[in-house]
Amino acid sequence: MENNTDNISAIQTTEVLEKPESQLREMWASLISNKGAVAGLIIIAILTFVAIFGKWLMPYDPNYSDMAISFQPPSTAHWFGTDQLGRDIFSRIIDGTHISLTVGLSAVAISLTIGTILGAVAGYRGGKTDAVIMRFMDMMLAIPSILLAIAFMAALGKGIDKAVIAIGLVSIPEYARIVRGCILSVKENDYVQAAKVVGNKDVRIVFKHIVPNILSSIVVRATLGISTAVLDTSALGFLGLGVQPPFAEWGDMLGRARGFIFSAPHTLVFPGIAITITVLAFNLLGDGLRDALDPKSRKI
């Protein structure tokens, strides 16, 4: 049994010591052979393009209101129809792309940075530091994230930057847990011990030697985290707490059109499709990345 464990750790060490470039190339090859991941990548590329060049793709000014043409059903003039204020829904959805992507990416950047640092410190230092940090994370996890985000929004006030902070803060525990778990699993490896023996400082060991080796797990989580952040943004928007007008945020569009569910259902269909497609794309890519990084799950 002991022998067996030795063998496993020896295999893990050789895997970890493999050259990063060849590992990356292998990962990429595995990723692009996955149809779902490729579809996800293509959708994300299109969304990024729309987010950057949206201004030139919009047929109308997304904020131009003409009450004479409110609630028009989809037509050749207005592909997705017009909303309660007579604004072109297609133009507003294009305008909303960069908000969703920006909020999603920025929120993940916040939770990823703070979560990684907290998880790394907890996992590496162990003992009391670990106990204090992780118990605090458990407490945050015991409050539903949407309620916590709403409370943060109530405390911080409304707006796009506040939404980013609120959504970023509530996801910290997830990253902290993952990073801590990964660190615990590689901490005892020979290369970490070797780095310690030659007198490297703790911070250097964690960020130069350990984090690069657990980066793959973090990347997978972050990709899937973007989809959660996009969903949370739309949820806050729907409740009227997120990004405020004149910004055309998809969740906010749904929240404001909710009263017209029976009289003008088209106002509620398209923003939801836009959210679903965006979330789907990051989920597909995240799943693909996980399969590419973990050959065991690929088999299944």
């Binding site: 779902g36 118990r135 605090f136 458990d138 407490m139 945050m140 015991a142 409050i143 539903p144 994230s145 949407i146 309620l147 709403i150 409370a151 943060f152 109530a154 405390a155 911080l156 989809s227 969903l231 739309s234 949820a235 729907f238 409740l239 707490l241 969740g251 749904l254 909710r258 569910i261 029976f262 259902p265 509620l268 269909v269 923003p271 939801g272 959210i275 679903t276 979330v279 789907l280 989920n283 597909l284 799943d287 799950s297 299944i300």
Partner: protein
């Protein structure tokens, strides 16, 4: 086992203290002052100050926290700033509605999730497998509130076969015994009301349960695929056990352990999702109500609800761990803990 359960319940105390501090700090330190919201915009500074004094908001923060904790221990969570009703009364008037919705959603999610996941695993790479997994992928990608809206547009607005919101027809509402309409209507023998409550539960449960169903289906599939490759499955087949029995008794039962974890975790997250579903379906539960209270800085209510939700969440996790022991006789908490 009993020792383990007691130990876990004792661990609830530090978690609750932590949760109370987090909520307290967010609400009392950072949230807007409730005085002008409660008294209206014409209130003078003196009036606002007097109101804060009466509600203990002028005291130093640690005294405020101490008073709050003293209230929690004695079971007095204070009164809502707006309705003046005791917080516990406010909460228990709405909590059954949310629990009824969450339980029916998790039943829907577990039932369909396990069926779809198990069939996908058994018929791996078939049309059913692909369709099931695409459905699951879309299920995790759709915003809960939008799915609710679409279901209302289709089943209420277009087909007119299901109600668009509310817990029951006001005329058919059962007499309150427990607050759970399904139980109350059965206790009072009111079958018409039972049917009406069920019909009202269908759309919100589907909307709230879809995400969990997708997660459970994916978990069941991968867990089943793993178990189906095990030696004991081959042994069972070699012994001539019928395929149906191999799948139900040997594969699914062993695959259930990780699935139960996921179901437990999902039940906890449903309490959060309820906030959105309740808003869409005008469901008179605790979720939509809490959002309102947060926005109006109704401190006592928000603190009470969050504590209650945290307790529920921790207890659900405990129940999941206990169910493990029944599913997997290898896990013996009492021995491990001794």
């Amino acid at each position: 086992m009993l020792k383990y359960i007691i130990k876990r319940l004792l661990m609830l105390i530090p978690v609750l203290i932590g949760v109370s501090i987090i909520v307290f700090v967010i609400m009392r330190v950072f949230s807007p002052d409730p005085a002008p919201i409660v008294l209206g915009q014409h209130a003078t500074v003196e009036m606002a100050n007097a109101w804060r004094e009466v509600n203990g908001l002028n005291a130093p923060l640690h005294i405020q926290y101490f008073n709050f904790i003293k209230g929690v221990i004695t079971g007095d969570l204070g009164h809502s700033y707006y309705t003046k009703t005791p917080v516990l009364e406010e909460i228990f008037a709405r909590f059954p509605a949310t629990i009824e919705l969450a339980v029916s959603s998790i039943l829907f999610a577990s039932l369909f999730g396990i069926i779809i996941g198990a069939i996908s695993a058994v018929k791996k790479n078939s049309v059913f497998d692909s369709a099931g997994m695409v459905t699951a992928l879309i299920g995790v990608s759709m915003p809960i509130f939008w799915l609710g809206i679409i279901l209302i547009i289709i089943f209420s607005g277009t087909l007119h076969i299901l109600p668009s919101g509310g817990r029951a027809d006001p005329l058919l509402q059962p007499a309150t015994v427990t607050g759970f309409f399904l139980i109350d209507s059965l206790l009072t023998g009111n079958l018409q009301s039972f049917a009406d409550t069920l019909v009202h539960l269908i759309l919100p449960s589907c909307a709230l349960g879809m995400y969990s169903m997708a997660i459970i289906a994916r978990m069941t599939r991968s867990s089943m695929l793993e178990t189906l490759e095990q030696d004991y499955i081959r042994t069972a087949r070699a012994k001539g056990v019928t395929e149906g029995r191999v799948i139900r008794r040997h594969a699914l039962r062993n695959a259930l352990i990780p699935i139960v974890t996921v179901i437990g975790l999902q039940f906890g997250s449903l309490l959060g999702g309820a906030v959105l579903t309740e808003t869409v379906f005008s469901w008179p539960g605790i979720g939509a109500y809490t959002v309102n209270c947060i926005l109006k800085s109704d401190f006592p209510v928000v603190q009470g609800v969050v504590m209650l939700v945290a307790i529920t969440f921790v207890i659900i996790n405990l129940i999941v761990d206990v169910i493990y022991a029944f599913l997997d006789p290898r896990i013996k908490y009492s021995k491990k803990e001794a």
